[in-house]
Each structure stands twice: as structure tokens, then as C-alpha cells.
Chain length 179, copies 2
């Protein structure tokens, strides 16, 4: 599938409801457990997604539209979730993510992006030249990376409980490959 803005927005607009159905009021054993030292729990992942909404995706999209390739994006703050989630409950984080995502997507829709806009180029500090189309596709795929991660982190908690069935459950053989 090539990038299709409506498909991207259809997917991105659902993520708050998916996380809500998956995580809200689920026992802490599921939502606060991680895969070991320096790994993330589902709670941490939601904080990370909030950080992206607040400081990364929109700032980068605006930089492409306003400055093109002349300025590099600020690096993505991959550990902003500690700041975002301190002292908050998972329910608060889910509400905050839903609000920010809805605001951001409304703003993107308001831009009425054309095919020409989507082809506009910006500069990633490590990856070099990227397009607005690639940025918006990545925003949606980044949600999928983290749904994939949450499923894996939660399955990890039952690694022993499933006994010999662990051999058959693909999610228990996922090495994390960075997310």
C-alpha cells in the first residue's frame, strides 16, 4: 500500500480507543509489569505516546511545511515518558493521550494537505531527507509498533503460566527488535 492520508488518519484516530479497551482498569499486574530492567511496561508506553503527541510529530510536520530541508528536526525524546507520567494514573494518561491525539489530528485535517504538500521534504537529524508523507505514515506505524510491544510485554508475564504451550505462542519468541 502506498501512503494514503485517509487510511493513515483512520488508523491513527483509533489508537486511543484501542489502548482504552486494552488497558483501562486492567489489573496492575498487566499494566505495570515490564520485561525486565530498563524495559517498558504498558503504562510507560502510554507515557511515551503522549510525549510523541506533545513534542515530536506535530513539531516535525510543521517544520517540514514551514522550513523544508533547511532545518533538522529536534531528536525524538525517547525517554520523555518519565516526565509525562510522573505521579499520574494510567487512566489519566489514557485520557491525556486521547485528548492530544484528537487535537493533533483535527489540526492535521485542517491543513487540507494536497499531494504536493505530502511530497514536501524535511531533514531528519540521523536519517537525512524525509517527506511529510513518510512522517505521517511513520506516526501511524509507530502506534502499531507500540501495540505490538504492549502485546509482547503482557504475554511475557504469562511465560511460565502457559507451561509447555510457550513453544507454540509466537509472541513469546519475539525478541523485541528494539520496540
Amino acid at each position: 500500500m502506498t501512503h494514503n492520508l485517509e487510511n493513515t488518519l483512520a488508523l491513527s484516530s483509533r489508537t486511543p480507543a484501542v489502548l482504552n479497551a486494552f488497558l483501562r482498569d486492567l489489573p496492575d499486574d498487566w499494566t505495570l509489569s515490564n520485561e525486565g530492567e530498563k524495559t517498558w511496561s504498558p503504562f510507560d508506553v502510554v507515557g511515551h505516546l503522549i510525549g510523541g503527541e506533545r513534542t515530536d510529530w506535530m513539531a516535525r510536520a510543521k517544520m517540514i511545511l514551514q522550513h523544508g530541508e533547511s532545518q533538522s528536526f529536534a531528536p525524538f525524546d525517547r525517554f520523555g515518558q518519565e516526565r509525562e507520567s510522573r505521579g499520574k494514573s494510567l487512566s489519566q494518561l489514557l485520557d491525556e493521550f486521547a485528548r492530544l491525539r484528537a487535537e493533533n489530528l483535527a489540526e492535521v485535517r485542517g491543513w487540507r494537505l494536497t499531494a504536493e504538500d505530502l511530497a514536501r521534504r524535511g531533514r531528519h537529524p540521523d536519517l537525512g531527507v524525509v517527506t511529510l508523507s513518510q512522517l505521517l505514515s511513520t506516526w501511524a506505524a509507530h502506534d502499531l509498533t507500540h501495540l505490538h510491544q504492549i502485546s509482547r510485554v503482557m504475554a511475557h508475564q504469562y511465560r511460565d503460566a502457559v507451561g509447555p504451550w510457550s513453544a507454540y505462542l509466537g509472541v513469546l519468541h519475539c525478541d523485541g527488535h528494539g520496540g
Copy 2:
């Protein structure tokens, strides 16, 4: 985490709502696309989950409670989704999965399983002796394997669209490891 029946039921009872938020009325480009020949689309996965509700999990649980190790389970029909989904829309499948899952979990709750019940043993045709506790844990973890798979299958559709960001998206580096 050792197996905790309430945690298992809390997770298992949410899966229909998660799939609903994720997939219902999403464009077909997302829900009907797979990862290539002989792989499954999200639509196929929902059909597979229906097959499990209808013919596998409950039948196995009842066999453990009624016959213990004296009889082997019937093999899991991993391709029953073709039968389950023929001629149906994704919305119909989501409704059917939600109904079957709710009925099955109500029945399990009605059994008022004790710790002794959960330790009861059955016989898997390939894995040998397993317990009811392991079966119920696997039922929940099997949902997670397929949420993990759906996230991966959907991200695959944007493999080209994300451009150079593919290097950073862990889900695009997942080899499927059997599900």
C-alpha cells in the same frame, strides 16, 4: 506472574472490545491485506479466534474437568477460519467473536474453579500433560499473540510508505516467529 484466574478473565474479556476499536469499519486496505501468500490478514485472524471459541478452548477445558489425562484433546484446527469466515463481513465476525467469548467466559465463571480444579491435568496430543491453569493462561496469551500479529500485519502495509524510518520501527523487524 503466576497464573491468576481473575487476571486471565480480565484480559480475555477485553479482547473483543480491543479488536472492535482496532478493526471495525477500518478501510479494507488495512483489514484484508496480509503479509504475502499463505499469510493471514486481520480478517483471517478474527475468523481464527472464532474457531478457537467454538471448537477448541472450551472443549479442552471440559475434557480436563471430565476425563483428566485419560483422553487427548482433538488437535487445534488452525485453519478453521476459512470455514468460519466464508461469506461474512468483518463486522459480522467481530460480533460473533464477541458473543462467543462472552458466553464462554460466563460458562467458565459459572464453574467456580478452585485452586485444585486449576491444577487438574489433561493430555495434549503433542505437548503431553498440561494443566487447566496452563490451558486458561494460554487462551489469554493466544489473544496477545494474535494482537501482536495484527499489529505486525498492518505495519507491513506501510513498510515502503515510512521510507527511511523503517530502520527504527521494531514491528517491521519482527519475523513472525509463527504467529
